[in-house]
Structure formats: structure tokens, C-alpha cells
Symmetry: C2
Subunit: 276 residues, 2 copies
Amino acid sequence: MDRMTASAPGRPGAGETSVTRVLGILDLFTPEAPVWTADTMIEHLLLGRATIYRYVRALCDAGFLVPVAGAGYALGPRFIEFDRNIRLADPLLHIVPPVMAELRDTVAGGQLLCAFYGLRVLAVLQDKTDPDITMSMERGRPFPLFQGSPSRVILAHLPTYRLRNLALNHQAAIAAAGLGQNWAEFRDGLRAVRRMGYLVASDIDKALVGISAPIFHAPGSVVASLCLVRTKERVTPDDAAYLGRLAVTACQRISAELQAFRLRQTDAAFPVSRVR
Amino acid sequence: MDRMTASAPGRPGAGETSVTRVLGILDLFTPEAPVWTADTMIEHLLLGRATIYRYVRALCDAGFLVPVAGAGYALGPRFIEFDRNIRLADPLLHIVPPVMAELRDTVAGGQLLCAFYGLRVLAVLQDKTDPDITMSMERGRPFPLFQGSPSRVILAHLPTYRLRNLALNHQAAIAAAGLGQNWAEFRDGLRAVRRMGYLVASDIDKALVGISAPIFHAPGSVVASLCLVRTKERVTPDDAAYLGRLAVTACQRISAELQAFRLRQTDAAFPVSRVR
DNA sequence: ACGAAATTCTCATATTGCGGGATTTTAGCG
DNA sequence: CGCTAAAATCCCGCAATATGAGAATTTCGT
């Protein structure tokens, strides 16, 4: 009943396999509850003691969990290592920082680089100057797929067949986010965004305005977005338009470098997500 | 035969379970080979096509893998999210940055915070001023357990029974690292380090000197070390002694804050690794 | 060194994973 | 926008392997 595996939405309690259950254990570990004892897991997952210990042992051996003093387990070092592996392999993290540095003074607020991962949009890089903006430890922060300018500008540049899939599988979330009650509305709204080239929105943090433009891994294939952020009272309509153009040109440069980088690579190997 | 699961050393090919195999898939994904196709995995893991696809699907659903354009899979967003969760729950990352900032000008080189995770030591935070020192994207960088001042100063402060375990299970690695041919030598060498309070070494990067002191989560329980780094030619013996004392006092402050933090927490819940 | 608590082991049972191949879906082209 | 090669899923019998209760063992802090 607590199969709320944030990871496999839309498929409620289906496909109960041992692998699923083991991976499900990791879902327990949140910032609010970072330590779990074996007994607590047994209670919450309704599994036998031996089974839980088998699972936990497998995860510990692999470094995904770590026993902590005082009896309990916490997320292990392997996640930190893998995040580094991802960072090392991600050309965006080499290309974007200098661009962010250039924009820093003009933006006079904050910047966020968000990557598109199939059904998820994640902050992967940040840059901040305005102390009024609370943005820290943002890498890894998830963004709702249908809210916020970083996500929506990415959506707007997805190929039609992907959008159609999304519209079919997530129409409730789309409607809830005000992106349209049906396929036509959804598509037309995004088309308008695409025509504009950038998106100004204030729907995640009402005190902030985000101005986002898309980054392409290849012509017609979005992988990320750059979001320029300012507090609301410091953005006039003219500012928004100016920052929008700024974001678009910056993203064009980033995209160009990304494609140049990709051509340099022998085996074209840079993560670009697909929707299933 | 390619059971080189970096995660469970000492237990070569034992305990082949489906969970082990699924987690083993993730071991394939290295910075050098960040993208794998289903067929390549089948080749390397000698599993049936349907099985690999089942495994990969489970990992994708959980966000640990992501399908990439051009047919293949790469490490997924979940690792980035979990690393953030760990960062958010780790009091060291709140306590240490201001200390590093204070030391920055005096150290005039680099600083590394390394955490102890059972059998692994990992960089978790860095700070650099000297451009001659190449240190970037260090969070997540693994350190050999028996080499380098960050690891060895941690070892030196482990309780005896943990050291005895290590000596039993890793005597080859210990000898290879020059930490002694037997238990007595190993223990005595570390005791000397413990007496000194800090450790000066240059065994990982020969061009650099690292000066490390231990950080305690509770009296007698090491969880991390702070390593002050300079290029070798900029460290006289007097410098080393001075930086050593500097590191020790900084670490004492950090430890005190850590324990104060721990007392504030309702449910004592900060990851401290144990050795099995 | 000791004792309480945490973890692993044992083993019979039947649930669940495996694999070869047919089928469906997908991506990206013209 | 429809099509085609390629990728991913489904099917299903067989048997390997996961499960859980409780006993045995190891671990860790005092």
C-alpha cells in the first residue's frame, strides 16, 4: 500500500519483482528520514526479517547503503561517486560555467541550468549573485515536468511525437499545470512558446521570475535549458524581453559548442533522454 | 569472470543473485564508457536478451538508467538526486565551508574534506586557491583506504577492533601501501600518527603535500578528515608543522560543532560508517 | 573481556525469474 | 506525414532461486 515509488508513476502496484523491491528500499531514504533501521524497514515494507537483511546487504555491498553507528542505515557513497561520474561525462558542465560567468553581472540575480531526463527535469548547475534569491545545493533539485519555465521551455521544443506521448499519458498533470485541457490546446500553447524562443514564468516561486531558453544537443533535440532568475520586483516587461534575448543567444552558443563537442567524440555518447 | 564488482571486494564471485546482477549492471557505467547498448551488456554479462531488458527496465523505471538517443543507456538522474539528498542531510557540509573559508588564505593552496564510508574514503568538499593545484570536480573522488593522508589519518583514529578487522581482511593492501607487514607494525605505525594528531604525506600525488587531521562525530569515532594541500616546493618542515597544528585545531572546532549539531537532532541520525 | 542487540544462517517450500523466439512498438528517415 | 529497420516487450514452460520463521552467530559499546 505504500508503493509510492516516485520512480515509476502511472504503474501503481504492478510488476512486483524482487529487484523492484530492493530498489524500492532506497525510496525510503529522504532528506526528512535519512536513517532507517532494519526493523523500521520491515514494518514499512511488510517483508520478512531475513529478506530485508538480504536486500540491505546487497545494497550495502554495492555501496548504495551504509550502516551507521547507533544501528541503522543511510544512503551510501556510491551515489556520490556516480554523481561525479555523471559530472565528468557531461559536456554541459564544461561548456556552461564560463557562459554563466559572462552573464552573471548582466543577469544580476541567479542562473540555473536544468537537464531533461526523460520524464524528469533536474537542476544540474547554478550560479547566484543576488543574496535575496535563496538557491543553494540546487544540483539534483527536481522540477515538475509541466511547471516552471525551465521545464516548459524544454517541452516546447520536443518533437511532436514525444509531446503526443506525454499528452496521452499525463493529461491530468498537464491540465493541472494549466497547459491545456486537450491535445490541441497543449500543442498550440507550446507552439507559441517555441515561436517566442524563450519563456518567462513565475509559477514555481511566486517571488521570482524565471526566463528560460532551450539548449540543443543536435538540431531539433533539446537536452537542457538555461534559466535566468530575478526577484519579481526587479523585472520590468522590457527587462524580461532583454533577458529573454540574452538567454536565447547564450543558449545558441552553448548548443553550438555542444554539437562541436559531440562531433569531436569518437563514439557519440552523450545522454539524451527519450520518452517512453 | 568479469565479476569485477568494485563494490564487494574480497568476495570474488560469490552470491550470484538477480539483485546482485542488476546492481552489477551499473558497474559497467564508467566515465570512460558512459553509454552501453543492450547488446553490449548482453555480451559482457552473458545474460539472455529478455533478462537484460528486464533488468534495464527496472533500472530505468527507478531512474538509475536513462535511454539515450542513438540507442543505448546511461546513468540516470536518480544519482544526482540522491547525491543532493545526502548533501542536504550531511551536517559536515553546513559546518565545514565557513571553516575552509577562514583557512583559505593561510593555507594558500587547497583543502579537501574527505568522508569515511566503511571501506571507502571519498572527497566530499573542496576549496582551492592555488591554480597550480589541479583539483576540480573532486566531490565523489574515491581515495584508496590505505594511501594518502586523508585516509591514513582516519585509519589512525579508528578503534582497535576495527583496525584488527581491516588488518585481517586487507593485509595485502596494507603491506602494498607500506603500512606494515603484520598487525604489530600496522598498529604501531598508526599509533604514532594518532600521537602526532595529524599526518603529513605525499604518496598520492608526488607533486603535492597533504596535511590531514581527523574529524570526530563523537569522542573516539572518526567520520572524516580535513586535508590541507600545497605544492611540494612550497612546504618547509616548519610549514608542515604549522599547517598540521592549524588542521588539528580546525578539526577540533568542526568536531565540536558536529557533536553540538548531533545533540540538537531529535533522532540521532548522521551517517557514521562501520566496518564489517 | 562481556552481554545485549544486530545480523547471518539453515532449510523446506513454492513463488518467481530465466530464456528463445514471436510480436509489438519506437525512432528517425526520406 | 507515413514507413522501415531496429529496439523493446511479451509469451510460457521449466526449474532455479527467493522467501520467512527461528536458531546460531557475530558485532559493538561499556
